[in-house]
Symmetry: C2
Subunit: 337 residues, 2 copies
């Protein structure tokens, strides 16, 4: 059930979590029951590690909020929210293998604690379990939405592999990468919530577009904060993307305005991955010179505005879930100031 | 269309391929169109490499044969056969990463030509594309069958990871591993062919059980031939499993009868992976002493008999597809003599 709770907490994620606490607990039970394997204990060990490290459960929150916002009173949204989180978890396991990451959210990654093999195969297992779970929704429309999102995610990952260290990568390509990385699953999460609730088509489209634009804003913000945030906020060190030679939006914008000398710098630190002390400071100076961070911030805000206006066709619910979703999109970019 | 062709060729796979040539060509077109990515060229490159190396297309043949055997005259079986082959291809890509394989069917593996990252992500992409393709079947029953197979495959892979180098692994565990490795997809392949054709339930069950038993027989035979086959038949060197310290059925059977000294041998070569010259010859002598290969052959034949009798409830088709499936199961184990 949706609960009316005091909303002293300013963080919209915390408020959504409080309002949807019962739903979220049910999602957690489904996730934990589905990720166990009767035959292969390693599955449960690895999956528990990565699920426990999973953070705020933002994606299932989006599905639950969308369904309840559309007045849904059944329980099929629980399985869908669990599906979305299982897909997310599977991609985290594979991402950490691909990025050779050793830490995620301050904890050692599964590929470090066990090995790459376990991460690849347990990721496959979680993806197949999510697939079983969504078949139980018995909705071909929902299956189609999630299948399309899964393909966009996988395509974005491969694109990132080839694009993320090439200065030839332009903004449209970057947007495709982050749509796959983040927005596609956010968008599927909100859309299936609306679909399972039987919402009218304009409401479904509005919530789908909200998820997409919120996801784009969320990822661009994340990429900016990697340069400007504090270790406390980020739960990782600022500059990690730079040190991993990742081509994110601020770099693309700065490189687009680079002269010969600046271009040589970006080629060395991003394409060749040859970094020296003070390179991060140089990068920050180049960002300043070309307004790269400010222009990225404007893009993040623009996507946040799109998210907000996408809710125009969506009627408010008694507990104010629409306002909370709007706050969520606003709060994300407010971290930038 | 199903074609009547001369059957001079004794190999049932070749005869099935000839009879189902048009269907198979259509499957190939679907696979090639689906594995392309508009945005990420690397997808097409890696996928083409592994699809081209893919061998006999046994799994799609099973779906096509089952559908046509059940009198199916539509074309939805094409997409399902392509789905099955895409799932198989995705698992090959991930398997080669997990096994650190450098060659498959005499060609360099994708993880060697590109890298592990590309194999992981392109595998994910092909799996998500297969998922989109099967949603187009618009059959929740078919989606459920393939989702269950995908989960069994992934679970078997993880189980193999922990079980394949432990002498504590018993025959029931080995059977679970090979059900995931081979039989689950064979079984799903024949079952969805029968379901899409609208066959009566006993016929669907018969073809499902045929696929499962044929798959078990096929994999046990493969594991035996790794010790007894020629390089020409295997398209790899005999003894590869042994040198990779893989615990397959003959080893499990021999180890079950091992005294203290023999047990120390198996522990060293399989669990510790510490192998010396002539170890393969020692292993073959121990197999002989305990009848391990002969007992494994009997198991393979028993599964082949189950496959044959599973076809009991399935009526023959005008072009003799039931007899061909029966020959297929028989031919597999006949390679053992």
């Amino acid at each position: 059930m949706v609960q009316l709770v005091p909303t002293a907490d300013a963080d919209p994620v915390n408020r959504l979590t409080a309002i949807l606490a019962d739903d979220l607990a049910a999602v957690d039970r489904v996730i934990r029951s589905r990720m166990e394997s009767e035959h292969a204990r390693r599955v449960g060990e690895v999956a528990t590690h990565v699920i426990d490290a999973g953070g705020k459960r933002l994606r299932p929150l989006l599905t639950l909020a969308a369904a309840r916002l559309c007045g849904y009173a059944g329980d099929a949204h629980i399985g869908l929210a669990a599906t979305v989180e299982l897909i997310h978890t599977a991609t985290l396991l594979h991402d950490d293998v691909v990025d050779e990451s050793l830490r995620r959210r301050g904890r050692p990654t599964a590929n470090r604690l066990w090995d790459n093999k376990s991460s690849v195969l347990v990721g496959d297992y979680l993806f197949s379990r999510s697939f079983q779970l969504m078949v139980e929704s018995e909705s071909l429309r929902i299956l189609g939405i999630i299948a399309d999102a899964a393909a966009t995610i996988a395509e974005g990952e491969v694109l990132q592999l080839t694009a993320s260290r090439s200065l030839a990568t332009d903004e449209p390509t970057y947007l495709k990468v982050i749509r796959g990385k983040t927005a596609a699953l956010f968008s599927a999460a909100t859309e299936v919530g609306a679909v399972v609730a039987g919402a009218p088509e304009p409401v479904i489209a509005g919530l789908r577009d909200f998820g997409d634009a919120f996801g784009m804003s969320f990822q661009i913000t994340d990429d900016i904060l990697d340069y400007t945030g504090s270790a406390e906020i980020l739960k990782k060190n600022p500059g990690d993307d730079f040190r991993a030679s990742k081509l994110t939006l601020p770099v693309i914008k700065a490189a687009a305005h680079a002269g010969i000398e600046e271009r040589a710098f970006w080629t060395r630190v991003i394409e060749l991955g040859d970094q020296r002390e003070d390179d991060l400071e140089v990068a920050m100076r180049l960002f300043d010179r070309h307004g790269a961070l400010e222009s990225s911030r404007q893009d993040a805000r623009r996507w946040s505005d799109v998210a907000h206006s996408s809710l125009g066709a969506v009627p408010e619910s008694p507990v104010g879930l629409r306002a909370l979703l709007a706050d969520l999109a606003k709060d994300t970019v407010s971290r930038l100031t």
